[in-house]
Structures are given as structure tokens and as C-alpha cells.
């Protein structure tokens, strides 16, 4: 298990961790503010997703060191997400359809 590559697992300066740490705080605050200012509709959803993805990206790339990993592992980890994206797309359409038929055929509020 021990790899003979001590040189390559060079550590990173503490500054970058503190920076990212700070940024995560800032972006979390922003996403919280989305709720605080009670944005609605498309604006709300896109802001939520935007901040979510930025935070996720920072955590994965810096804290989890993915930024410094070789493409082999990065690609292996990210491509399977396409399956999830397909699943998300299909289920979005599916739930819309379900809602549509329910609203059409069923009495609400009983």
C-alpha cells in the first residue's frame, strides 16, 4: 500500500484552505440570503442551484483535492453523474405529468 511517491503528495499552503473556507462561508451566507430576502420563482431556483454548485465545486476540488488529481480519476468520478442527470430529467417530466393528470381528474382538498 505504501507508495513510493512522497514527493508528489506535496502539501498545499495553509492559505488556500483558509481562503476556500472563507468562500464557503460567504456562499453559504448568500444561499441563506436567498431565503431571507424571499426571492421567488425562477430567480430563486437558479440562485439556489448556482450557489449549491459553487459550494460543491469548491469542496470537491480543493478540500477533496480533486483539482490536483489526475484526469483519470476525475473523469471516472464525474462521468457517472450523466446517468443521474438523465434520471433527474426523466423524473422531472414524470412528476409534471403525474401532477397534470392528478389535477385534471381528481378533486383536490378532500
Amino acid at each position: 500500500m505504501e507508495q513510493n511517491n512522497k514527493k508528489t503528495t506535496s502539501t498545499h499552503s495553509i492559505g488556500i484552505y483558509l481562503w476556500i473556507w472563507g468562500l464557503l462561508f460567504v456562499f453559504s451566507t448568500f444561499s441563506y440570503l436567498v431565503d431571507w430576502y424571499n426571492f421567488q420563482g425562477l430567480l430563486r431556483w437558479s440562485l439556489i442551484i448556482f450557489f449549491m454548485l459553487i459550494k460543491a465545486g469548491l469542496i470537491m476540488s480543493i478540500f477533496m483535492h480533486l483539482y490536483w488529481e489526475r484526469w483519470a480519476i476525475v473523469n471516472v468520478l464525474l462521468w457517472p453523474m450523466t446517468a443521474i442527470m438523465v434520471f433527474v430529467a426523466i423524473m422531472t417530466a414524470e412528476s409534471k405529468y403525474t401532477f397534470f393528470t392528478r389535477a385534471l381528474f381528481f378533486v383536490t382538498g378532500v
Binding site: 500500500m1 457517472p80 446517468a83 434520471f87 414524470e94 405529468y97 403525474t98
Partner: protein, 608 residues
């Protein structure tokens, strides 16, 4: 404490440190990147045979457990066939018992037999040997994986003995019926089934991580991915599929357990049953179906891909010819694996999902036929201009090709959404999946057992019994399922306990009796096979080393059967793919993977 580990740090004889004699540049193999693996050497009976950390023993444990449950599944199928062929003859077979048999039969066969046997059994045994590793990367975790599997099996079996019996919800476990009282086993049976599946997933994940990392990170020097035997490619891709697909099953199991035990409404809409309101609101049964088939379709390829891989190796070795189009074969496996995540809803064409999904899923489903077709072509083209030994593994491989093409083609019927409308949920589907999953991969399993039995036990299986076993199993199974398609055309729905009061179904009476008789004959033939295994393990003809003259590493261990650590003092170094049979320009008939180019300088081999 240290001396129970042999830190047999080998002095690597990398080509660059060649001592004196001339080594042609082709022999250049990079130095080892990974240090020698520490092995835990067993000291007592318990740690050697029971809580063993040797992947080979774990593989055998997996295989035996899977076979044992598989036999239960087989016996259950007899019960079903007796009822279908000769209804009202066997009083112990009521509708509830029938449905419980169908469910347990389906689930056992798919998950606990085939998945466990291919990945847990063959995977554990073959992966380290074939990629030139001493063991799985985390032997301890690997051991725990088997014990989780065993617990899952025991939980499953225990459901036969609880009040209400095992669940009779069909192996697809669709809610709401799976947890409502109109279905047999809705008391304890369904909960035990869900728990057992969850445990299976957890146990499998432990094993699966081992298989994947062993293949990716622990190959021997020279073993590039494109030099791995297709067996490993099949098992590898299947394992990746499993790691990504089982989560959906796991989630569905958790949600259904909560629906059942806590009364949540994940999958339960407003329901009025047995004269009363249930009190659940707003859930969606279709959501379960999506989750189930997001797992379920990859699952059928999880049991098919290892079979594809193994059969490629069997055909190549026994036809003494390189596998045709190796690269295409590898890409086909990978593409099939990737595509299998975007076709799942072809099981839901008639489920009432958004009707426009039909277009998307029919297209993706039929696209999958293209890489699969390439594999089929390459198998038969491997036979072309080969020198075919009609050994038992070869016979089973031929049987596989016929049944798989047949079953695959009926898959094309079902995949084309409009054709699925009349055929869905009829015996046509039953025939399709038995052909392609019940028979084809089982043929490969049998062939593989005849092929690798000498490696595992040092003895051959009896050939005469083997031939009888093959012919009865193959022709018999074909006779069971080929005519069954036509029941589907008549319109006989599946999961019908009894079907003879409908005018057009009566025409199927004779056919059903014939199928039942054939199924019983085939079933009993397996006893012959079991006898063959047990008898030959002790008294079989002793096998010489590498009896089939194969090239892959597992046959070239210092001892046969291979010892703990697999390869003695030095790990082999690999210089070529495992398919160098009948190479021109040289008098050897085959060149094992670890033979250096300098040893066979005149061979005109393709560069791999």
C-alpha cells in the same frame, strides 16, 4: 506479531536492471509501481476455511452458498410448473403458495444466484489470478462481504418460516400491492425480503469495491487494461454497474420498508381496499417502478456481462483462436454498460408513465442491440477458421450463443414500444428473459465450471456425465422456452395461477404440459451435475497443469490449485494479451501471457 506476515519483498527483476545477457527492447517492462502486498496467513482451521481472507476461498464460499439457494429456486420452479401443467392435481399448491414460489424463484435466481455466483464467486476466484495480484486489495473487507451475503441469504430463507410465509409480490415488489393484505406474505415476508436485499447491497458494495480497485490498481507489471482477459472486463463492468445501480434498489427498499412499518406515503396514494380507506395520501407507485428499474435494467446486464466475458474466453481457448476483434469486444462491453443506465423505462411501457417517454426509451433500447450484435458476430467469427475442440465448455458456449441470440431477438420485440403493448406481461416476456437470462448465462456458468474445475480442485469433471448434462440441459431448456413465446402470442398473461377457463387459453393446455415435463427433466439433470461435482472433487481424473493449454495467468501459477498468494515468490510479468493462439512463425501452439518476446523471437504476433 510480525512473523505472521511474510513481507516477501521481492527483488524486482525489472528489465532495466538486466544482469549481463542481452534483452531485446521489447521486453522492457516498467518497474513495479506498487509494493508487495502483505498477506494475512491463516493459522487455524477457523481462519483458514471459515473466516478466510483468501479471495479464492471466499469465491468458493460465495459459489457454494449461491448454488445452495439456487437449488431452492429450482425446486420452487418445479412447484410452479406442476401447477401450470397439471392444475388441480396438487392440493398443496394454492394461489398464495404459487405466488410466493414465483416471487422467491425470481428473486433468488436473479440476485442471490446469478449476481452472487458471477461476481462473488467467479469474481473473487478469478480477478486476482487473472490480473496477477496476490489477493484482493482489502482481504478483510472481502471476507466481511461474504458474511454479509450469507446473513442476507439466511434472512431470505427465514422468511419461509415466519407467519404468513415469504412475500408473494412478484420479484419486482411493486407497491402498493406488495405491502397490502391482498398479497400473500404481506405480514413479515415482505419486510424480511426488503431487509435481506438491503443487506445484500451492503455486502455486495464491500466486495464490489474490492473487485474494482483490484482490477484498477493492483494489476501485475505489463498487464495493461487492454491485455486483460475479457472475463475480467465483463466482471469489472458488471461490478461498476452494480455499484451504481444497487443504490436505487437500496433507496427503494428503505422507502418501502418505511411505508410498510411506519405508514409513510412514499409510494402510497389514497387507497380504498377491503372496504376501508387506508389513510395514505399522495404517494406515487410509479416512483417505485422508476427506482426499481433504474436498478433492474442494469441488473440484468450485471448478470449478462460476466457471461459475455467468460464465454469469449471459453470460445477462444477451445477454438484455439484469438478472440476476434478484442478491442471492439471491450468497447462493446463498456458501451452496453453505459447505455444500460438510460433504457430502464422499457420495463414500464404499460405502467402508465408519461406516454412520450416511449419514444426515448424505445430508441435507446434498440441502440443497445448494436454493441450486443457486435459481440455476437465476434463470437461466431472467432469460430470461423478456428480449430474447434468440441469440449464440454465449448458445447456450453455454443448453447449460449444460440439461446442468447434467440432471447436477444425477442428483446428487440419488447424494446420496440408498440410491440411491447400486446406482449408485455405475457408469457412472451417470461420466455424472453428465461432464454436470455435463465438459460444463456447458466450455460456459461456450467461451461465455466467445467473449464475451471481442474484449476480449483486439481481434477477433471467426468466427461460422459458432462455431455449428458449438456445435451439434456440445452435441448431441454430450449424446448421449455422456445414454445413459451407462443403462449404469449395467444395472450396468456404471466403470473397466472391458473388459466384454463378462457377460451383461447385452453389451447395452451398441451403445450403447458409439455413444458412442465421438459422442465422437470432438465431440473433433475442438474442432480447429475451436482453428483459429478461432488464425486469428481474427490475421485475425478487428476488433471495436469493447464489442461486446456490456455494463456491467461490463472493457469500458470507455481502450484495447481494455486496457493495463498497465488504466484509464489515472484509475481509474473505480462508481455501480451491472453489470446496468442496458433501464432504464425513459431512452432508453439500458444504463447502464455508471461512469455517474453525474447523467448519467442520469431512469432509474428499482433502488438497489444
Amino acid at each position: 506479531m510480525d512473523n505472521e506476515y511474510n513481507n516477501n519483498k521481492i527483488e524486482t527483476k525489472a528489465a532495466d536492471s538486466s544482469s549481463g545477457s542481452y534483452v531485446p527492447p521489447a521486453d522492457n517492462i516498467p518497474a513495479s509501481e506498487i509494493p508487495e502486498q502483505e498477506l494475512y496467513h491463516a493459522k487455524s482451521f477457523w481462519t483458514r476455511w471459515v473466516f478466510c481472507q483468501d479471495a479464492k476461498v471466499i469465491g468458493v464460499q460465495y459459489a457454494l452458498t449461491a448454488t445452495a439457494v439456487g437449488l431452492i429456486g429450482l425446486v420452487l420452479s418445479w412447484g410452479m410448473r406442476l401447477q401450470l401443467g397439471f392444475p388441480e392435481t396438487f392440493s398443496f399448491l394454492g394461489p398464495a403458495t404459487y405466488y410466493q414460489s414465483v416471487t422467491m424463484h425470481g428473486m433468488i435466481m436473479v440476485v442471490y444466484l446469478l449476481t452472487a455466483l458471477f461476481l462473488g464467486g467467479f469474481g473473487n476466484y478469478l480477478i486476482p489470478l487473472m490480473v496477477g495480484a496476490r489477493d484482493m486489495v482489502f482481504p478483510y473487507l472481502n471476507m466481511v462481504s461474504f458474511w454479509m451475503f450469507l446473513v442476507a441469504v439466511l434472512v431470505l430463507i427465514s422468511s419461509f418460516f415466519v407467519p404468513g410465509g415469504p412475500t408473494g409480490a412478484g420479484w419486482t415488489l411493486y407497491p402498493p400491492q406488495a405491502i397490502l393484505p391482498g398479497t400473500p406474505g404481506s405480514e413479515m415476508g415482505i419486510v424480511l425480503m426488503l431487509v435481506s436485499l438491503s443487506l445484500f447491497v451492503i455486502g455486495f458494495t464491500m466486495g464490489g469495491l474490492n473487485y474494482v480497485i483490484t482490477i484498477l490498481q493492483a494489476r501485475t507489471r505489463g498487464m495493461t487494461l487492454m491485455r486483460m482477459p475479457l472475463t475480467i472486463w465483463g466482471i469489472f463492468t458488471a461490478t461498476v454497474l452494480a455499484l451504481l445501480a444497487f443504490p436505487a434498489l437500496f433507496v427503494a427498499c428503505i422507502m418501502m420498508t418505511l411505508d410498510n412499518l411506519l405508514g409513510t406515503s412514499f409510494f402510497m396514494p389514497e387507497i380504498f381496499t377491503m372496504g376501508e380507506q387506508l389513510g395514505t395520501t399522495g404517494g406515487s407507485p410509479i416512483l417505485f417502478q422508476h427506482l426499481f428499474w433504474f436498478f433492474g435494467h442494469p441488473e440484468v446486464y450485471i448478470v449478462a456481462l460476466p457471461a459475455f466475458g467468460i464465454v469469449s474466453d471459453l470460445i477462444s481457448v477451445h477454438a484455439r483462436k484469438n478472440i476476434f476483434g478484442y478491442r471492439m469486444m471491450v468497447w462493446a462491453i463498456v458501451i452496453i454498460g453505459a447505455l444500460s443506465f438510460v433504457v430502464w423505462a422499457h420495463h414500464m411501457y404499460v405502467s402508465g408513465m408519461n406516454p412520450y417517454f416511449g419514444f426515448f426509451f424505445a430508441t435507446t433500447t434498440l441502440i443497445i442491440a448494436v454493441p450486443t450484435a457486435i459481440k455476437v458476430y465476434n463470437w461466431v467469427l472467432t469460430l470461423w477458421r478456428g480449430n474447434i475442440h468440441l469440449t464440454i465448455p465449448m458445447l456450453f458456449s455454443l448453447g449460449f450463443i444460440v439461446t442468447f441470440v434467440n432471447g436477444g431477438i425477442t428483446g428487440l420485440f419488447l424494446g420496440n414500444v408498440i410491440i411491447d403493448i400486446p406482449l408485455s406481461d405475457t408469457y412472451f416476456v417470461v420466455a424472453h428473459f428465461h432464454m436470455v437470462m435463465g438459460i444463456a448465462p447458466l450455460m456459461v456458468i456450467f461451461g465455466a465450471i467445467y473449464h475451471w474445475f481442474p484449476l480449483i480442485s486439481g481434477r477433471h469433471l467426468n466427461q460422459t456425465l458432462g455431455k449428458i448434462h449438456f445435451w439434456i440441459s440445452f435441448i431441454g431448456a430450449y424446448a421449455i422456452y422456445f414454445p413459451m413465446h407462443y403462449l404469449g402470442f395467444i395472450g396468456v398473461p404471466r403470473r397466472y395461477y391458473e388459466m384454463y377457463d378462457s377460451p383461447y387459453m385452453t389451447t395452451g393446455v398441451g403445450l403447458n404440459q409439455f413444458i412442465t415435463v421438459a422442465a422437470l427433466i432438465v431440473g433433475f439433470t442438474q442432480i447429475l451435475f451436482l453428483y459429478n461435482i461432488i464425486h469428481s472433487a474427490f475421485y475425478g481424473e487428476k488433471s495436469e497443469k493447464n489442461p486446456w493449454k490456455a494463456n491467461s495467468l490463472e493457469w500458470h501459477t507455481p502450484e495447481m490449485p494455486p496457493a495463498h498468494g497465488n504466484f509464489g515468490k515472484d509475481l509474473p510479468v505480462v508481455y501480451r494479451w491472453p489470446y496468442d493462439f496458433s501464432v504464425p512463425g513459431i512452432d508453439r501452439e500458444y504463447i502464455p501471457q508471461h512469455v517474453a518476446p525474447s523467448e519467442v523471437p520469431t512469432a509474428k504476433v499482433e502488438k497489444t
